[in-house]
């Protein structure tokens, strides 16, 4: 078991954060730390805008960084469960990213 870091890009909507936090509890994973920001600078995420053919505006999207200590096999399951949340646009761990449901083999976030 090692500490792993997850990064999420998600819609900044009421209740969205609660869904992520709730999912950890519901599936029996622990959160070691959690950091949330509203994204102000979209330049690093331009590839998401291009990919999804959307334009983000200020305050519309948040970035979450979650640290959790879990076994590797469970990490994949957590990533997949988070990816299922409707308001999550992208989620990554150190070596993979789900972007709107499509899996990439690198950390793009």
């Amino acid at each position: 078991m090692i500490e792993r870091q997850l990064t999420l890009i998600m819609e900044n909507k009421p209740g969205a954060l609660a869904r992520v936090v709730g999912l950890f509890h519901q599936r029996g994973y622990n959160i070691d730390s959690l950091h949330v920001d509203s994204i102000e600078d979209f330049i690093p995420y331009k590839f998401i805008e291009d990919e999804l053919d959307v334009k983000f505006s200020k305050g519309e999207v948040s970035r979450l960084v979650i640290k959790t200590t879990v076994a590797d096999t469970l990490m994949r399951q957590i990533l997949r469960q988070i990816n299922k949340l409707i308001e999550v646009i992208a989620v990554s761990d150190e070596d993979s990213t789900y972007l709107k449901g499509i899996l990439r083999d690198e950390n793009l976030l």
């Binding site: 209740g15 519901q26 409707i86 709107k100 449901g101 499509i102």
Partner: protein, 578 residues
């Protein structure tokens, strides 16, 4: 067009093509109910308890493939709906639940009938919405239906504060034609390379098994599955949720697998060299101890939900996408490569399965015994129901021994005909879900096979059935106890029967049914069983409640040995295991 929030909501449902709303009114939903009153395109079905509304909508959805719609008020109305939402969630059933909420300015003040419905339902919905302004209602309804019915389906809650349904505040209304949620999964297409790997795996196997579950039904892929097996001709098993997706009377069908699966289905899974898992999720009632599951098999897993694959059992080949698309792709490739496949190489495997079946298969001829020396066997009661309904009925069920007997002994030849709460195992599901099915298919035979424990969890819906004239047939497999619990106590607690008996308190179900205006039939003797069931089926225009007193000491077998057992470890009868 300008509309008030309440009318917008109702108009949006009409635009979605909703036929029935199952619900119950109350303070926070009063404006909405006024809109329901003022239209005639949808019918509102007034149930007797909100749990009944959710199960009725759920039954409607399972039978038709269309989303079920539920309307409840805030507070207790919303909380009463929770069990039914969880039931739909566990089985991935499309449903839209609209809950009234207290007025916006009262939220958070512990107002009368305030409850945090979004919070309470969060872990058991696919998604939920709070309406924040009237002008968003059409968009939210559109998105809710889209989410409920696409990808891996499931229930969606829309919570709407009362002031946003106020009839005096008008806003522009236009129902969106399309929906695009930028953060939501697009439909995934199966990858061609994976499809090729699957076909290679099938062609290289000697002991393949198709293990198909409820996802194959949600994806409407029964036809494709049957087509696949017309080429490869391999043994098939279905999960409790998948029954009917492959015809039970086909000679390649081995019956259900898992906890109470047939001997041959469980043995075939354990000894297979290839398992094609199609829209099934390796639930713990299927795998028994995961580490001991199918030790020799290569696993191919078809699923629309990434998180279901390699969750319990690691997949060797994963095919993501709607099962229907994946099977179509497989079928196309197999057709091209058919000359490479010699299906006679499976002959030994088929012979082995036939041998298992002849050794310990289920006895489907119990109904032929009508002697009064024996008590009525619950299995025989189900067999009679199967014979009399010619295998054509929709059958809903509850939870317990009767449910397992129904799954084992009623042969389902078509998908969406077997309607039961597989994932959550909700007692009380049977009767209200049958109402939803009967409304969807008024000319079809709709049967509820229940137990005297389960039926009492939603028995109030007998009243709804008389109001809307729903001539369902209810077969109450009455063993005078919470039979399944009793079976576990017999097997694991030295027969200490803790709280499974109602002592002398059961109602006379025949008279109870009659008091609601239905027909009641009571059967207590084996020699009366056939006649009584025939009589029930001869009555077409009324609900018939058939109370069948069965042998209270029967157990459901086979039963997997747990804990630490594999799929080949089964109890086959009292005191006898493999």
């Amino acid at each position: 067009m300008k509309l008030a929030g309440n009318d917008m909501l109702i108009q949006s449902l009409i635009n979605e093509g909703v036929e029935y709303i199952f619900g119950y009114p109350g303070g926070a939903a009063l404006h909405i109910y006024d809109s329901i009153f003022n239209q005639s395109e949808m019918q509102h079905i007034l149930v007797r308890h909100e749990q009944g509304a959710t199960h009725a909508a759920d039954g409607y959805a399972r039978a038709t493939g269309k989303p079920g719609v539920v309307m409840v008020t805030s507070g207790p109305g919303a909380t009463n709906a929770i069990t039914g939402i969880a039931t739909a969630f566990m089985d991935s059933i499309p449903m839209v639940v609209i809950s009234g909420q207290v007025q916006s300015h009262l939220i958070g003040t512990d107002a009368f009938q305030e409850t945090d419905m979004i919070g309470i339902s969060r872990p058991i919905v696919k998604h939920s919405f709070t309406v924040d302004h009237q002008s968003n209602i059409p968009q939210i309804v559109k998105e809710a239906f889209h989410i409920a019915t696409s990808g891996r389906q499931g229930p969606v809650v829309i919570d709407i504060p009362k002031d946003l349904t106020n009839p005096d505040d008008l806003f522009d209304y236009e129902y969106p034609k399309e929906v695009n949620i930028r953060s939501y999964n697009p439909p995934i297409k199966p990858e061609a390379t994976q499809i090729e790997r699957v076909v290679d795996a099938i062609f290289n196997s000697k002991k393949p098994v198709i293990y198909a579950g409820g996802g194959t039904i949600s994806s409407n892929a029964s036809k494709e599955l049957i087509e696949l097996n017309s080429y490869i001709n391999v043994p098939v098993t279905n999960t409790l949720m998948g029954l009917g997706v492959y015809p039970a009377t086909d000679d390649k069908f081995m019956g259900m697998l898992g906890m109470h699966g047939t001997y041959q289905a469980n043995m075939a899974m354990h000894n297979a060299d290839l398992i094609l898992a199609i829209g099934a999720r390796f639930d713990d009632r299927i795998t028994n101890t995961p580490e001991k599951f199918a030790p020799k098999a290569q696993i191919v897993h078809f699923d629309v939900d990434h998180s279901s694959v390699s969750k319990i059992i690691e997949a060797d080949i994963a095919v993501f996408g709607q099962v229907k698309d994946s099977l179509q792709a497989i079928n196309k490739l197999i057709k091209d490569r058919l000359p490479e496949l010699d299906i006679t190489k499976f002959d030994d495997w088929h012979a082995q399965i036939s041998k298992w079946k002849s050794e310990h298969g289920l006895n489907h001829n119990l109904y032929k015994d009508s002697s009064d020396e024996n008590l009525i066997l619950p299995q025989a009661a189900v067999q009679h129901i199967y014979q009399e309904s010619k295998g054509k009925a929709f059958v809903t069920s509850d939870v317990g021994q009767h449910q397992m007997f129904a799954a084992q002994y009623y042969h389902f030849d078509e998908p969406r005909k077997w309607i039961n709460s597989g994932g959550l195992g909700t007692m009380g599901f049977g009767l209200p879900s049958a109402m939803g099915v009967k409304l969807a298919y008024p000319d079809e035979e709709v049967i509820c096979i229940t137990g005297e424990g389960s039926i009492q969890m939603c028995i109030q819906e007998l009243s709804t059935c008389s109001q809307y004239k729903l001539p369902i047939k209810i077969f109450n497999i009455n063993n005078l106890a919470l039979g399944m619990v009793k079976q576990w106590q017999d097997m694991n607690y030295d027969g200490r029967h803790s709280s499974i008996s109602y002592e002398d308190s059961l109602p006379d179900f025949k008279e109870l049914a009659e008091s609601y205006g239905h027909v009641g039939i009571k059967i207590t003797k084996n020699s009366d069983l056939k006649k009584g069931i025939e009589e029930a089926f001869s009555i077409k225009d009324k609900l018939v409640f058939v109370d069948i007193y069965v042998d209270p000491n029967e157990h459901v077998y086979p039963m997997l040995v747990a804990p630490n057992g594999s799929l080949k470890d089964m109890w086959l009868a009292k005191g006898s295991k493999t």
